[in-house]
């Protein structure tokens, strides 16, 4: 049993950490305060191979493993959670789905530009009435000759405003629930594909989160991903892998919380001593560090299992559950350690606090993760 990173993974971490420190972190405050999509950074990430980390090189990706992907997600999230979720959606939710389920023609047309960062993707599964209950899809699809026609509304779609391509889920027959769901690749600009609302969110302000309307949206039959009725399976398999990315993102946010806490605790003086010398602060820092390390190891293990081609449903759920709750706890403690300054926008603790919270909700709430884990253990 080896706990160390391979040489490739170490070199990769060094590069991404350096890139994140110099290019991503300096923009994080502005991205958050002004709600700016980090266009230039995303392009740089595409050039470096970070938008298709685990996609093979023949399909435009970097050809690395999922542990490298987890490392990349953690380092980028440590610098800016908004930038990391843009990367995560593209890598995990659309490029990975295309790689696993796409035809060769679909891979040539969409996967290569997605993985190399020339196109940006989004994942349109959630609906006003279908969040955790993803099989309750209301968006309908009907075949009309050599096209499929989509009608319905999606919400909470990350990256929708900037994306060039959406992976959209719809059902041929609502009562069929999971068995009726299909998945489609829909290009931005297709008539009938409209963004109807850009949400204002508590955190992750550098990414768009949108309501999207499909109104008699005609999609070529060649853009069906997988088979009719296979959509729910595609969604669940994709989200399984996506959990590794979000777990890694959460580890990154938590690590950032620890980083700023260590720095502040050494600098802030109270009662003639740095507050780092007080047991109350030391215990908070120790607890944060232990939980972050545990979350990191759970995440790397899930990534390692995926690399080995082994089942990782339970492990991905465990990693996502624990890492996301760790991020929230760590960010809360960081804010507390900063005292009154933690509450001010001038200091990063409040941004981490706001950004961390969503990791317990999206790509499968903590409650759903618990159900998944229990189901795996009991069946």
């Amino acid at each position: 049993m080896k706990f160390g990173l391979t040489e490739e993974q170490r070199l990769f971490r060094e590069m991404v950490r350096d890139f994140a420190a110099k290019e991503v972190a300096p923009l994080s405050k502005q991205v958050d305060e002004e709600g700016i999509f980090p266009q230039k950074t995303v392009k740089q990430m595409g050039d470096l191979g970070l938008m298709g980390v685990a996609i093979p090189t023949e399909y435009g990706g970097a050809g690395a493993d999922n542990v490298c992907y987890a490392i990349a997600m953690e380092e980028i999230a440590r610098a800016c959670a908004s930038t990391s979720v843009i990367m995560s959606v593209n890598n995990s939710l659309i490029a990975d789905a295309l790689y696993k389920f796409g035809t060769e023609a679909q891979k040539q047309r969409y996967l290569i530009p997605l993985a190399s960062g020339k196109l940006l993707g989004c994942f349109a599964l959630s609906e006003p009435g279908a969040g955790s209950d993803a099989s309750a899809q209301q968006t309908l699809v009907a075949r009309d000759g050599d096209v499929f026609v989509l009608n319905g509304t999606k919400n909470f779609i990350t990256n929708a405003l900037e994306a060039d391509l959406a992976l959209v889920f719809a059902t041929v027959d609502r009562p069929l629930r999971a068995k009726g769901v299909c998945a489609f690749l829909v290009e931005k600009g297709t008539p009938g594909f409209t963004i109807t609302k850009v949400e204002k969110k508590l955190g992750l302000k550098g990414t768009s989160c949108c309501q999207v309307l499909f109104e008699h949206c005609r999609v070529p039959a060649d853009n069906l991903l997988g088979e009719v009725g296979q959509g729910f399976k595609i969604a669940m398999v994709t989200l399984d892998a996506g959990r590794i990315g979000i777990a890694a993102q959460a580890v990154g946010i938590a690590q950032a919380a620890l980083d700023i806490s260590l720095r502040y605790a050494k600098e802030r003086v109270a009662f003639d001593k740095p507050i780092a010398s007080f047991q109350a602060i030391q215990w908070m820092i120790a607890d944060m560090a232990v939980q972050i390390e545990a979350a990191r190891l759970l995440t790397y293990r899930a990534a390692w299992l995926k690399d080995k081609g082994l089942r990782h449903t339970k492990e991905s759920a465990m990693a996502k559950l624990f890492a996301s709750e760790t991020a929230s706890r760590a960010a809360t403690k960081a804010l507390q350690i900063h005292g009154g300054y933690g509450y001010l926008y001038d200091f990063p603790a409040q941004r981490l606090f706001r950004d961390a919270r969503i990791t317990e909700i999206y790509e499968g709430t903590s409650e759903i993760q618990r159900l998944v884990i229990a189901h795996q253990l009991l069946n």
Binding site: L11, M15, D18, F19, D47, L48, G49, A62, G63
Partner: protein, 266 residues
């Protein structure tokens, strides 16, 4: 065209002051948990070399004198665009001064084969004594230009841009030439692409010892050093505040100017 880039692995010079510690016994910086990086100007030198490779089809070899950890720096060099990398890892080199290091590098460069350009950083990010490039050129008996930011190849010659106090000079030189690189907007070190990192991780890096290079042991190590560090310390920062009084802003400005002149600050 064959280009050799000499790189040095150092403790990250960007670490916060609170993490900068000196060991009083060895008179060296303590690494602690601080990361190791390629010395920044050496990274600029590597960038210049890779740009020349992209433009003229050159072969780039990165060479470093160091220990086992230096392999990581050389792998980084490979992932950024160097074609080959060589490590000189010889315990007897410990304690060598700048001339000893330059001697070892010269022997490694000679063993690596004929080259047209040798690039180094203009100074290292740790000691910044700017000595090795000059000594290296002397060992190799080739021309040397310092503070070079750009290099062009024209008609079998190189034209280097050297930074001077109030601008720059363009110098035509025959090869082989040693250029010590300084930074400007054209040679910022690039980030390695992920697929290049994967490829670099698989490459073998030869490790050469004194015997491989035929080093004269009388010229290396602490015994051969002609420079000795007597003391290294972190200066104690002091701050004083002197109030300049006056009835009007003009009067205060005049008194401030006089005081600054008195203190020989202007």
């Amino acid at each position: 065209m064959n280009i050799v880039v000499c790189i040095k692995q150092i403790i990250d010079p960007e670490v916060p002051m609170s993490q900068f510690k000196i060991d009083p016994r060895t008179k060296r910086q303590v690494q602690g948990n601080n990361p190791l990086v390629i010395s920044p100007y050496d990274a600029n030198a590597l960038e210049v070399a890779v740009q020349l490779k992209e433009k003229h089809g050159a072969k780039v070899t990165a060479i470093s004198v160091g220990g086992a950890t230096t392999i990581a720096a050389l792998k980084s060099a490979l992932s950024i665009g160097a074609d080959e990398a060589i490590l000189v890892n010889e315990p007897l080199l410990a304690g060598s001064d700048q001339q000893g290091i330059a001697y070892a590098l010269a022997k490694a460069i000679q063993k690596a084969g004929a080259c047209d350009l040798i690039l180094t950083g203009c100074e290292s990010g740790d000691w910044a004594d700017r000595a090795v490039p000059g000594f290296l050129a002397e060992e190799l008996d080739i021309g040397y230009v310092g503070y070079v930011t750009r290099i062009e190849v024209r008609d079998g010659q190189v034209v280097v841009r050297r930074v001077v106090e109030d601008g720059y000079e363009l110098i035509e030189a025959k090869t082989p030439l040693l250029a010590a690189i300084s930074s400007d907007e054209t040679n910022a070190a690039r980030y390695a692409k992920l697929r290049d990192i994967m490829a670099a991780a698989k490459k073998m890096i030869p490790v050469w010892k004194a015997a491989d290079l035929g080093l004269d042991l009388e010229r290396i190590g602490a015994g051969a050093a002609r420079v000795a560090i007597t003391d290294v310390y972190i200066p104690v920062k002091e701050s004083r505040c002197e109030m300049i009084d006056g009835n009007t802003p003009e009067e205060k400005a005049a008194k401030l100017a006089a005081r600054l002149r008195e203190l020989k600050l202007i």
